[in-house]
């Protein structure tokens, strides 16, 4: 097992800089997820760790050893590709054995390793099949098997679940988590899916435009996003963000005012963005709640919950509420209530959070 340390990692393609100085320490046995929109540099960063892309500037260390100029095969990392990249001309067993044969592992040892790994991944019955004869989930497992058999110091996952359908993705996500709990190998996982990030990660790294926006545990990021980008990226649906102005006692949004606990002294009149998580609202007032009048225009039932789409002032908002098995009573909703302590305030200009603690 080993840690991975990135300091000041920069990637340029010719004159274009796409990754602008990444600093990240992945601890031994930790599962870190890089998440962000397409083109944010997360895959490039992962490929630099793998050695598939050159590092333009900065230092990469794996297990304390500088790896910038070390070939991928000598970094002792294994990667699971988005498109699996299984060798189509080889069967499952040979696909998994490929790397071991190249490393000249004795035949009987290869056979034992493959049998053990196939057992873990439930592939024992499929060892003689070619990739074309496997389902998407099975191929995904083979791709992981190929990484596992090598007992690498670090696993790298490049959006491994994005080609699976929703049901299989949920299932495989749980399998990856179980596998990590069992093997405890340091893992760096890239995804654009925030649900995968939240469920798998020990720590999440939110990236945007070649930079890290925030690093933290899933709940830290969920509860205390440092800026509007992180707030809008994590959570499903994402945090509602509304333009507002601070007053002495709260924030004014259009004609309404949201009362806030612990008002921001001396900042009255400042332009801000108010952030409210969809699931933080209730339909009934309580202690220390602020009322938000909304113009409801759509109710989307999800079963036990429903999404309320509407407008608050000029801004579109989405809230989530329990249905109690019936959505008829939701049609007339014209205001929701949010505990003042859960309302987030961000600077309108920089997008930075103005208060992190309550």
């Amino acid at each position: 097992m080993a840690g991975v340390n990135l300091s000041g990692i920069i990637k340029r393609y010719g004159a274009v800089q796409v990754v602008h100085g990444i600093d990240l320490d992945v601890a031994e046995r930790e599962f870190v997820v890089l998440v962000g929109p397409s083109g944010c540099g997360k895959s490039t960063t992962l490929r630099m760790i793998a050695g598939l892309e050159e590092i333009s500037e900065g230092d990469l260390e794996i297990d304390g050893r500088r790896m910038n100029r070390v070939a991928p095969k000598d970094r002792d990392v294994a990667m699971v590709f988005q498109n699996y990249a299984l060798y189509p001309h080889l069967n499952v067993a040979d696909n998994m054995a490929f790397g071991l044969r190249i490393r000249k592992m004795p035949k009987d040892q290869i056979a034992t390793t493959i049998a053990e790994t196939a057992e873990i991944l439930g592939l024992t019955d499929y060892l003689a099949r070619r990739p074309a004869d496997l389902s998407g989930g099975q191929r995904q497992r083979v791709a992981m098997g190929r990484a596992i058999v090598r007992h690498p110091k670090v696993f790298l996952f490049d959006e491994p679940l994005s080609n699976l359908d929703a049901k299989l993705r949920t299932q495989m996500r749980a399998e990856i988590k179980r596998l990590h709990n069992r093997l405890g190998v340091t893992s760096v996982y890239v995804t654009h899916d925030q649900v995968e990030a939240m469920t798998l990660a020990d720590r999440i790294v939110v990236m945007n435009d070649g930079r890290i926006e925030q690093i933290g545990t899933p709940m830290e990021l969920f509860n205390n996003p440092v800026n509007t980008f992180v707030a809008g990226f994590l959570g499903s649906p994402p945090m509602n963000q509304m333009k507002a102005q601070l007053t002495e006692t709260g924030a004014r949004v259009g004609a309404s005012e949201i009362k806030l606990t612990g008002a921001i002294n001396g900042n009255a009149g400042r332009d801000v963005i108010v952030g409210i998580r969809p699931e933080h609202v209730t339909l009934y007032p309580g202690d220390q709640t602020a009322a938000l009048p909304i113009q409801l225009d759509l109710v989307e039932p999800l079963g036990s919950e429903a999404l309320l789409h509407g407008r608050f002032g000029e801004d579109p908002v989405v809230f989530k509420t329990e249905t109690n098995g019936d959505i008829a009573h939701l049609q007339g909703v014209n205001q929701v209530h949010v505990p003042a302590s859960l309302v987030k305030i961000f600077d309108a200009e920089t997008g930075r959070a103005l208060r992190l603690e309550h």
Partner: protein, 293 residues
Amino acid sequence: MMNWNLYSRGDKFFAIMVSIMVGMFTVATLYPFIYIAAVSFSSGFAAQAGKVVITPIDATLEAYGYIIVDPQFWISYRNTFIYTIGGTIMSLAFIIPGAYALSRRQLKGRRFFNLFIAFTMWFNAGLIPFFLNMRDLNLLDSMFGIILAFAVNAFNIILLRNFFESIPQSFEEAARMDGANDFQVLWKVYVPLSKPAIATITLFCIVSRWNGFFWAMVLLQSEDKIPLQVFLRHTIAQLSDDDEFAILQTEAAFSAETVTAAIIVCSIIPVLIVYPFIQKYFEKGILLGGVKE
């Protein structure tokens, strides 16, 4: 079955015309084979009189009897095998690594090299400079010279390079992560994945080597080095003005025509035998299932 009712008159007309054209082309391609085979099994008189159209007339194997006792036939037959097998192996040994190198983005000066190779497809030095070049390299009348001189063919390199380029990059990356070096990536991943393209090129090489006539005639002098095609030409030239043969053929049931046809049939047989074995590699979709795009 086609449902003709679904087609407009124009479509029907087009389908009929296409069928007629394909039929004519098939006949034009197959007929020379059939004719030559029929002549080779006919009597000399029938062949000379132009009586053979599709089937052998006065069927006989005498023309074959005449050539198989000629030691020079077997020598040139052997030579053709040597040139074909040696030449094809030599070609693949150059073309596969060459095409792979040209397909890699990390190759420095890749555009230049690609242009350089393609250039030779359109322009070359021509017959006399090539001959002089071979002479100066001491490769005249040399079996190795024939094998080496025509080993690299720009068209085949470009064909295979394009195929390699179409293979998803992630296979190479996966192999590199698995610890493969350049040679292993090529040999254990790219070559197996490129079987259809390599089979095509192998067949091109085999056929062009097997039929190789002109340069063998220009570069080789010794009878014990000439391939079958040159032997065939010698035979045609000799038989038509050989008095001894003229006497012989009046007594036998063969003629210059039937002997020539018999040699041609003998020279076609190996290619016909090899083709089905190579053809099975022209399978499509070998990449299916390995990656998901």
